[in-house]
Amino acid sequence: MNTLMEKLNQGFYAVSNSSHALFIWTALAFTLIALLFNLGVVLFKEKAMIKKMAQSTKV
């Protein structure tokens, strides 16, 4: 476990201190934001449709 944490620490510092750090972090952050945004839109659409369905059955 300790060895794994040490390796992770080393890997994290290697990425953070490399000359390409900004590009790597931006790429990773953009990917996560885009995926979460997509999920958010889909969830929002589902909620809106459920609301619409409830309204249509009321009428």
Partner: protein, 251 residues
């Protein structure tokens, strides 16, 4: 998961393939599998990101910068695969008028667009330190950009024709015409001299990447695929509800 648990996920005791022709049944299956898919997606992403970004050694030429591959290649791969899926479903819809095929195509478009955008942006972020430029009008990059416009056009057409009788038909025709771009994206690096490197993974050749770098890449490809299925399961339910509200608006 044992056989009993898998059986309990299924809405019908007798398993028949043609029940997937019903959107309701398909959405029900997707709904039952959703928790498993979400768990799988999170697990694979966590493993892939940790293993790929922090535990793999740097590339001997590109240094740490090559690690963008772990988000760039899976998104690019799925952007093409999802378009192929939309194409197949559009063909099925046009020939046999199976509504589920149209629903599957419609529900896949948004995630395909997201993956294409990720592939373009991360590619640009990778290109700047390696090529010295954010963008070149290179065959691979340009054809991938056209793919993004095709996805946007497909979604735009669908939303512009909501409630129209021939919405599904028009969307299917556009998807089929747009399929021309997919082989161009894939083979552009072979057909023309491009700045973009050749394929890292091939079905027939030995991978050009070391095994310790390959495993997290494959895991990330599966993780992106699992994410696609999660989005599909949510979208199918929304589509099913939409069709229940507006049953007469479909061609």
């Amino acid at each position: 998961m044992n056989t009993q648990a898998i059986k309990s996920l299924l809405p019908h005791k007798r398993f028949k393939l043609n029940q997937f022709l019903s959107l309701k049944t398909l959405a029900q299956y997707a709904e039952n599998l959703k928790p498993l898919l979400i768990f799988l997606t999170l697990l694979l992403f966590l493993f892939g990101v940790i293993q790929g970004f922090f535990l793999t050694p740097p590339d001997h030429q590109q240094g740490e910068g090559f690690k963008i591959i772990y988000v760039h290649v899976p998104s690019a791969f799925w952007s093409l695969a999802i378009y192929c899926f939309i194409f197949v479903n559009s063909v099925i819809f046009l020939i046999w008028r199976i509504k589920v095929a149209d629903s599957l195509a419609a529900c896949s478009a948004s995630v395909g667009t997201t993956f294409t955008l990720i592939a373009l942006v991360t590619g640009s972020l990778w290109g700047k330190p390696m090529w010295g430029t954010w963008w070149v009008w290179d065959a691979r990059l340009t054809s991938e950009l056209i793919l993004l416009f095709l996805y946007l056009g497909y979604m735009g057409l669908r939303s512009a024709t909501v409630g129209k009788k021939n919405q599904s038909k028009l969307a299917a025709i556009l998807a089929i015409l747009g399929m021309v771009d997919v082989p161009i994206v894939h083979f552009s690096v072979q057909w023309w001299h491009t700045l973009h490197q050749g394929a890292t993974l091939s079905r027939f050749a030995k991978p050009l990447i070391a095994t310790e770098m390959l495993i997290p890449l494959l895991v990330m490809i599966i993780a992106f695929g699992a994410f696609y299925l999660v989005i599909l399961s949510y979208s199918l339910r929304t589509e099913m509800l939409r069709r229940e509200i507006q049953p007469r608006t479909h061609s």
